[in-house]
């Protein structure tokens, strides 16, 4: 064995350019495979923990995924609102510890405006129970105060004290601006990697206030109520889009869910966010599996390249193998020599590939998270990554048998003299 290792290492050193290029190809393929796996894992983890600490989400009766999409991810719109009466009734349920209403429908330069209570910043949890932190400022307290998410602030360079205008309707192209009622930024949130980053938060009362002189999605012509007069109006919300609900005990979750689902005055539904997130992931998870399949194919291409390179070298090495035979090497030695060489190249490729992912995660990870909200963590390989590495190494080992076997057959046919 030691003679084989000695010969293999010398042979590799002698052909270092070809060998390192081959190993590099495998390393890149392995890095891609592991990178995709890690991104996939982190994305799933991050996704599943977009919202945590909330036991139920309540909204108008529709589909569970739909309710989750519009209430948490701000994708799509609610079919119906939930009346304030119902919200109060649910909040009064003995098992309900807290309730944070959410009112959607306006936007700011393409970002959703979320009308909610200041309690939102205390109650909303993401990841493993992490709270939202303030990078700057404080929660809103005055009627026209607003708190913006990290990405909103970063995109437009907002600072505390700046004044912004919200628009009616959602999306990049808003229908009309509420330019008569500007908001003052009083807080900027820390980055969370959740839709919170892309939101502008105002109080529920503010949502009512900017719509007092509006009817059916347009300003009432000729009516303009000065901001000083607003306090005369009843700014309590008449309806909201959804509500996040926390319970005294998780055991009560199905009881409260049934209470909401069978609420007599209004067709409502309550969903368990965790379960629905899983359901949603199973839909978009197809994409990540496809990505993983593509990287697996890239690895196979890399290994095919390895086999091709080693077999191509075999033509020149038949003479060398015949010499080794004369020196007392058995056909098994010859087999081992070529198999060991390929397996070593494969192994080096795996190692370098892993190092690439690791250093990539360390170097690019923070930037990826900051700029694209993609989580790429450095660390020892997870269980899934070990499985992948193991699979690649096994595949490299199987691939290495091909040149090994070919050399074995050559050495049997050639004996001590090359016959071509």
């Amino acid at each position: 064995m030691s003679v084989l290792l000695h010969l293999t290492l010398r042979s590799i050193a002698n052909r270092r350019l070809t060998v390192s290029l081959t190993a590099l190809a495998i390393a890149l393929a392995v890095a891609m495979l592991l990178g995709v796996e890690r991104l996939r894992h982190d994305a799933r983890e991050g996704f599943a923990q977009t919202i945590s600490g909330t036991d139920l989400i309540v909204g108008a009766r529709s589909g569970a995924v739909q309710l989750l999409l519009y209430s948490v991810f701000h994708i799509g719109d609610a079919t119906n609102n939930v009346s304030w009466h119902s919200i109060e009734a649910i909040a009064e349920h003995p098992q309900v510890e807290w309730l944070v209403p959410i009112s959607l429908g306006d936007s700011h330069r393409g970002f959703r405006v979320v009308g909610t209570s200041a309690e939102f910043f205390e109650r909303y949890r993401y990841g493993r129970g992490r709270e939202i932190g303030f990078a700057e400022g404080r929660p809103f307290s005055d009627l026209f105060d607003t708190v913006v998410g990290a990405e909103v602030a970063a995109r437009f360079g907002y600072r505390v004290g700046q004044s912004i205008v919200v628009s009616h309707g959602a999306g990049e192209v808003a229908f009309a601006d509420h330019d008569d009622r500007p908001f003052t930024i009083v807080g900027i949130l820390e980055r969370t990697g959740t839709p919170v980053d892309r939101s502008v938060f105002v109080s529920l009362e503010a949502i009512e206030a900017i719509h007092v002189d509006w009817v059916g999605g347009a300003r009432i012509p000729g009516v303009s109520i000065p901001t000083e007069q607003l306090h005369r109006f009843d700014l309590r919300p008449k309806a909201v889009t959804a509500a996040l609900v926390g319970l005294n005990s998780r055991v009560a979750v199905f009881r409260v869910q049934r209470f909401v689902n069978t609420y007599p005055d209004e067709p409502l539904m309550a969903i368990l966010p965790g379960a629905t997130l899983q359901q949603l992931w199973s839909v978009i998870g197809v994409v990540e599996r496809a990505l993983l399949a593509v990287s697996a194919i890239v690895v196979l291409v890399g290994l095919a390249g390895l086999v091709a390179v080693v077999i191509a070298s075999l033509g020149e090495r038949r003479r060398e193998l015949a010499i080794l035979r004369a020196m007392g090497a058995s056909p098994a030695h010859v087999f081992g020599l070529l198999a060991l060489e390929s397996a070593l190249i494969g192994l080096i490729g795996c190692g370098v590939g892993f190092a690439m992912v690791q250093s990539g995660a360390l170097l690019v990870g923070p930037w990826l998270e900051a700029r694209h909200g993609l989580l790429l963590s450095a660390g020892w390989p997870s269980h899934g990554e070990w499985m992948l590495l193991g699979a690649v190494m096994s595949a490299a080992f199987v691939a290495s048998l091909v040149p090994g076997f070919r050399a074995y057959r050559y050495s049997l046919a050639d004996g001590m003299s090359v016959r071509i």
Partner: protein
């Protein structure tokens, strides 16, 4: 029968009733009823290219197996050994010098000389000094400068390569050295010089030398001249 066993024991090579055919080649290529080389003998075997010299040598080396017959090398019947044991036996007891491209190109000259020692403990155990020291001693005897030994084999001239190959064949005193056209890549002057060195070293080690060549001019230096066509009876036997 006892006599026969004794002569086999005393022979470096004893071949009896050997036939061999390359698979798919159609027809027998070697048919050697009787051929012996005594221990310590220096034999020049002559034969034109394509006459089956290399095949005979591969059979003696145990790399090929005969179709029929018996090959005894240094008292050991090769047929009695497994393939793996034949490889070990070859490593321990037979040194080779080929026509050219003798060396593993990516190893240094020194590592090439030491190659048989890596495959055979027996060769190492026959040494009185550590293997690298013995390699350097042989290299010096064969007129190789010490500085050359650490260079990759691919950087040596053909003459230097052949001398490295000779040192490799001789290290650890194998009982038999087989040289297959070792000088045909050298010019006339260097042929003589190489032959001098090889013969001197075989003498010093008491090694049997089987020297194969198509060049008759070299045969003067040997005790015995064998024509391959004299011992190879292919096509001579009556059919049936």
């Amino acid at each position: 029968m006892d006599d026969d066993t004794n002569t086999r024991e005393a022979s470096a090579i004893a071949i009896a009733d050997l036939t061999f055919a390359w698979p798919g080649a159609g027809g027998v290529c070697l048919d050697v009823p009787d051929f012996k080389v005594s221990r310590g003998e220096r034999v020049f075997m002559h034969g034109p290219s394509g006459s089956g010299k290399s095949t005979l040598l591969s059979l003696v080396a145990g790399v090929l197996e005969p179709g029929a017959g018996r090959i005894v090398v240094l008292g050991q019947d090769l047929a009695a050994l497994s393939a793996r044991a034949r490889d070990r036996y070859r490593a321990a007891n037979i040194g080779f010098v080929f026509q050219m491209f003798n060396l593993v190109p990516y190893l240094t000259a020194l590592d090439n000389i030491l190659l048989p020692c890596r495959f055979s403990c027996e060769r190492v155990s026959r040494l009185e000094v550590p293997a690298p020291a013995e390699a350097r001693r042989l290299a010096e005897r064969l007129d190789l400068e010490a500085g050359l030994l650490d260079r990759p084999a691919s950087e040596l001239s053909v003459g230097q390569q052949q001398r490295v190959a000779a040192a490799r064949a001789l290290i650890g005193r194998p009982g038999l050295v087989i040289a297959d056209e070792p000088t045909s890549a050298l010019d006339a002057d260097r042929q003589q010089r190489f032959l001098d060195l090889l013969l001197a070293e075989c003498d010093a080690a008491g090694t049997t030398l089987l020297f194969v060549s198509h060049d008759h001019r070299l045969s003067r230096r040997f005790e015995r001249l064998v024509e391959l066509r004299d011992i190879n009876h292919v096509g001579r036997r009556a059919p049936g």
